[in-house]
């Protein structure tokens, strides 16, 4: 017996080591969250590696900054000029968009629409990766001490990157959207078809659960649907690159991620999402007819003495006074029709608060109002000055 054990000692140890690891795996699989069972090993490994990664990233960033900020300044003046021009253009664009946003908010409020707002983010630097093709994840230099928690969304200016999976004291593991175990609620921008975005073995990402009888054109933008309760709705995920019929009832949709997942340096962790009902600046429901009526020029109130002086004239000219009345009523009866036909652009203008916005986009709206109202409103002003109407009674 001893000779057998001695002969197969190495093989027995091999089986024993494999058995222990299989047992460990089984424990982790059985528990839905493996954070408790394997956390200690992960903490040790991350603690051993992350200081080196942080140091290396710091050295790289510092040397890069030294070069770019002090030595390599060629063309900065021209670039600065171009950027200033770009800022001017973007300000104008922003003013226009803020008006559109205000309008959207009012309409959302009317529909009692709840939306999620990213109210707080934390910038983090990417310091490492899992280093495996089978596990697409990255490490960032922010952790528990910085208020990072599991399941927080991680984004860049271009789009969604992933979500926080494990949090350590000063680092966190981010599961990329290209990982095969990740899943993001997605919606196509134009067709509004919903599905799930998943990573594939090849490292690409695909949208699942879109029925094969739907038409999805290549190039369509994919956004977060907000259904997973992790990513706020409307964040860009990517763009459809290829659509093919799948083996089941669903389409195979290949998506190119909006964020460059292979070259991540800085990311934003969404640390706070507010879910609130959109509140317009105006309170209470507003009818399009009321808004349009407010915008129409009205006859200014006359001073008391002047009205006294004119009153006999006015009383004397029932025929002439009858003319302005329909002219005043006419715009009001027409107004709802106009307001309904083009309700959104007209209705949105009076409530804008941005001065820049007023100066940019109030103008066409005001022009519209003048074009529609002027011929009808000018009549009563002209009526009293018409000599033939006043002369006959004298």
């Amino acid at each position: 017996m001893e000779s057998v054990l001695g002969r197969y000692r190495n093989l027995i140890v091999l089986v024993g080591v494999l058995f222990i690891q299989v047992l460990g795996l089984a424990v982790q699989v059985r528990r839905s969250t493996d954070t408790d069972s394997s956390r200690l090993i992960r903490v040790w490994a991350v603690t051993a590696i992350s200081p080196f990664e942080k140091t290396l990233v710091w050295v790289q960033t510092a040397s890069g900054n030294l070069w770019h900020n002090y030595f390599y300044l060629r063309g900065v003046r021209a670039e600065n000029r171009e950027l200033k021009q770009e800022i001017e253009q973007m300000r104008i664009e922003q003013a226009r968009m803020s008006q559109d946003a205000d309008q959207a908010r009012r309409l959302q409020a009317l529909l009692a629409f709840k939306e999620q707002f990213i109210s707080q983010t934390k910038a983090a630097q990417v310091i490492g990766s899992s280093g495996s093709e089978q596990s697409r994840s990255i490490y960032i230099d922010k952790g528990e001490n910085d208020g990072i928690r599991p399941d927080m969304a991680v984004i860049t200016a271009d789009g969604v990157v992933g979500k926080i999976l494990h949090v350590y004291r000063s680092t966190s593991l981010v599961l990329l959207i290209s990982d095969q175990s990740s899943g993001v609620g997605a919606i196509l921008e134009k067709s509004r078809l919903q599905g799930i975005l998943r990573g594939m073995a090849s490292g690409e990402i695909g949208m699942e659960k879109v029925m094969s009888d739907e038409h999805v054109p290549a190039g369509e933008v994919v956004l977060t649907s907000g259904g997973d309760r992790i990513f706020p709705k409307g964040l860009p995920l990517g763009r459809v690159t290829r659509v093919a019929p799948g083996s089941d009832l669903f389409l195979n949709i290949q998506v190119k991620p909006a964020a460059n997942l292979s070259k991540l340096e800085e990311v934003l962790v969404v640390t706070k999402i507010d879910e609130r009902q959109a509140t317009p600046e105006q309170t209470g429901p507003v009818r399009a007819a009321d808004i349009l009526a407010e915008r129409l020029p009205t006859v200014p109130p006359k001073p008391p003495d002047a009205s006294a002086a004119v009153s006999p004239t006015a009383g004397q000219v029932p025929a002439a006074g009858a003319a302005p009345k329909p002219a005043q009523v006419k715009p009001k009866t027409v107004a709802p029709a106009n307001g309904l036909a083009g309700s959104s652009p007209v209705a949105s203008k009076p409530t804008t608060s941005s001065p820049a916005g007023d100066s940019v986009s109030e103008k066409p709206a005001a022009d519209n109002a003048v074009v529609k109202a002027t011929p009808k409103v000018e009549k009563p002003a002209e009526a009293p000055t018409q000599p033939p109407a006043q002369d006959p009674p004298q």
Binding site: N10, L14, V17, Q21, G128, G131, S137, S181
Partner: protein
């Protein structure tokens, strides 16, 4: 170029110093985690696997080979988002296999090393995918073309790496 069969007495057995034994696997796992961020293509390489094979073949001890593989694999697992043990099991098998072959074959020449690394990479991936899909239920896609390409790339890098690590070997 050919793999020659040698007797146990003919085979040289080496060892590595304690600093090298600790620092080389650490450096391999660190570089594996850091380099793909800067050089994206580097993720097809598996430096910890190459270090496991190198240590196992040089030491020519099955026990040392399997424990080296298990520890490096578990350390690598701890940095990923997947359950701990997938790389551990794969590298335990590879460590045991490489050291077993190291006892019987002369693996000092570049051709033999290239061929063995290629084979052990495929073995590693087969074990990994079997455990990942069969036991853990992970969705992992297997493409022969990709795996063979990766195996070849790792084999070539392995030959260079083994030559570098040979300088740290000490004859027992």
């Amino acid at each position: 170029m050919a793999i020659t069969y040698t007797s146990g007495e003919q085979v040289e057995v080496y060892r590595f110093g304690i600093p090298a034994t600790i620092l080389i696997p650490l450096a391999a796992v660190f570089l594996q985690a850091w380099l793909p961020l800067r050089l994206h293509f580097f993720s097809i390489f598996d430096l910890p696997l190459l270090v496991t094979i190198s240590f196992a073949m040089a030491r020519r001890s099955q026990m040392a080979g399997l424990f080296t593989g298990a520890l490096i694999g578990l350390f690598q697992d701890a940095l990923t988002s997947q359950p701990i043990g997938l790389y551990g099991i794969s590298k335990t098998v590879v460590g045991f296999g490489a050291s077993s072959l190291g006892i019987k074959l002369d693996v000092e020449n570049a051709g033999a090393r290239l061929l063995l690394t290629l084979v052990f990479y495929v073995v590693h991936q087969v074990v990994y995918f079997t455990v990942a899909r069969g036991m853990v239920g992970l969705q992992r896609g297997w493409t022969w073309q990709h795996e063979l390409g990766s195996a070849l790339a790792n084999a070539f890098l392995g030959v260079i790496l083994y030559a570098l690590l040979d300088r740290l070997k000490q004859r027992t």
